[in-house]
Symmetry: C2
Subunit: 154 residues, 2 copies
DNA sequence: CTATGGCTTCAGTGTCGACCGAAGTGTCGG
DNA sequence: CCGACACTTCGGTCGACACTGAAGCCATAG
């Protein structure tokens, strides 16, 4: 008795959501992302997501708002009293990754200001200096990598 | 009336801890890291940290255990009933950053298995493919950057 | 063996955030 | 103006986790 593709996709969505949950994204938000990445057709209404993912309308609403705001999901409204359609905006995924890398590099501002507080005491600054050097290196390398990205046209 | 260096360092430690708190490191753990990066002398006992950071002995113990386990802090024991000394292990900071980058890249395993589930339906796989391509690129570029790191001898 | 001191463990407390579902808001057709 | 529908907002609940402080554990000195 083999397992259907849709069943395996459900399991995949769940793993997908679990991964992002560890990074602080609400479970339901991660499920929406995973689902919208693979569903057919590509667009869904909030009500459909609520039923498909077995989440309350409130949770769907809150998370969709968050994802639309982050740019990862696009809302398409239609004339009449029709429900809005939501679809993944996979082109913006790169922005999310950039934000993560920026957050990593931003520690450098902290280490720099710490180094300034230490000026005049090189001995004491040694430990911080090791860390500061590391972040300084990251801050010069990572943006350079980003430039080399295929179609970094935006 | 100017502010003393130690006072400003306290404020810096607090900002330092606040930054890592956003990344999921307990506030007290972040304070320990910041403090051990700049304190003079460089080594402290658990009791001293408890007093200096105004945290309970239990919290200090739990967080030191976590930090020692992560490799960021080194425990030095001494003969006699003397308290153990803790100091920052700034050389291991690079490991922490590597772990972060690895976590970022590891999403690729998810997108890959998702792509496999989609094989035979290129149309439907298009959205996931965009994301998968991005992580595949990251997975090839980031380790290469890491190799170029000054004294990546480890 | 006993007392001392230092760290660890653990039960209890408080806070925070995700989630639910019902009530509310807004919009459109009739 | 009213009814229907879709989404949003909000109070309430639940679980997770950081933190505390006291009790427990272990090693050492005497």
């Amino acid at each position: 008795m083999s397992v259907g593709r849709e069943t395996r996709l459900s399991a995949w969505i769940e793993r997908f959501a679990a991964h992002f949950a560890e990074e602080g994204i609400p479970l339901i938000g991660g499920r929406i992302l995973g689902y919208l990445l693979v569903c057919q057709p590509t667009e869904r209404t909030a009500a459909e997501l609520s039923q498909e993912l077995e989440a309350s309308s409130g949770s769907i609403s809150t998370n969709l708002k968050f994802l639309v705001n982050a740019g990862l999901v696009t809302k398409r409204t239609r004339r009449g009293r029709q429900a809005a359609q939501y679809r993944i905006n996979e082109k913006r995924w790169v922005d999310m990754i950039q934000r993560k890398l920026d957050a990593l590099v931003s520690v450098r501002e902290l280490t720099e200001s710490g180094m300034r507080l230490m000026s005049g005491d090189p001995e004491r600054a040694m430990r911080l200096r090791t860390v500061d050097d590391l972040y300084t290196w990251l801050a010069t390398e990572l943006p350079a990598v980003w430039e080399r990205r295929p179609s970094s046209s935006r």
